[in-house]
């Protein structure tokens, strides 16, 4: 079955501390993986995707096929990083995207 899990519903870290949002997936094949972010009162938007291998706003995500994980990391959290983060996967570029339940990140000043 295709599924995305995010074990932490809520995550609080202090400003300047490292942050890691966990994501695990199950998929028969090689999916494309994404992180979406929703800031307060804003629409959901793409943060980064595995295929691009880029770092956005200091965030990176490494795909570990052996552990079927795609954890999101940032070495030094900022207050403006407080938001809801969704891990997601897709089979092909025109396939539906399956979202995880989301993790609410709160960065404490």
């Amino acid at each position: 079955a295709q599924r995305v899990t995010q074990p932490e519903k809520l995550l609080s870290v202090f400003k300047g501390a490292p942050v890691e949002l966990k994501c695990n997936y199950s998929y028969s094949g090689s999916p494309e993986l994404f992180w979406y972010v929703q800031y307060s009162r804003q629409r959901l938007q793409l943060l980064l995707r595995h295929i691009s291998r880029e770092s956005i706003k200091g965030f990176t995500a490494d795909l570990n096929k052996g552990e079927t994980s795609f954890h999101l990391k940032k070495p030094f959290a900022q207050e403006e990083d407080s938001a809801m983060y969704y891990c997601a996967l897709s089979g092909t570029s025109y396939d539906k995207v399956i979202f995880g339940p989301g993790t609410s990140l709160s960065v404490i000043p």
Binding site: E32, L44, Y94, V97, I98, P101
Partner: protein
């Protein structure tokens, strides 16, 4: 800067009433998605279209929900009759390739 638009942004209605939500996808995008977001369930895919044809609506309660794309510039999601458990934020998203662009959502409250 092209954006997905949704109307209305907020809707309060009584149980049993019909609700219609509209979405204007980004011009040129050939895939349109409808999602429902609640605190309990997170983001659920209700239905999606490619080139205006419905591809998957398995996430949608068929007896009361319907989704259509009468033309390339308009997608609609209808609930008839509405129930209090339908209260949620409904998002539309459009895409061309991997990335999806989300609308601002319609916050529906059914009393």
């Amino acid at each position: 800067d092209a954006r997905v638009t949704q109307t209305p942004r907020h809707k309060v209605t009584e149980m049993g009433q019909e609700v219609t939500m509209r979405c204007q996808p980004i011009l040129g995008h050939n895939t349109v998605f409808w999602y429902r977001q609640t605190m309990m369930q997170g983001l659920e895919l209700l239905a999606y279209f490619r080139n205006r044809a419905p591809l998957d609506d398995s996430g949608m309660p068929k007896d009361r929900f319907s989704a259509e794309m009468p033309d390339a510039t308009l997608a609609t999601l209808k609930i008839q009759p509405s129930e209090p458990r339908d209260s949620a934020v409904y998002f539309c998203a459009s895409g061309q390739g991997y990335e999806q662009y989300f609308g601002p959502g319609t916050r529906l409250t059914v009393t």
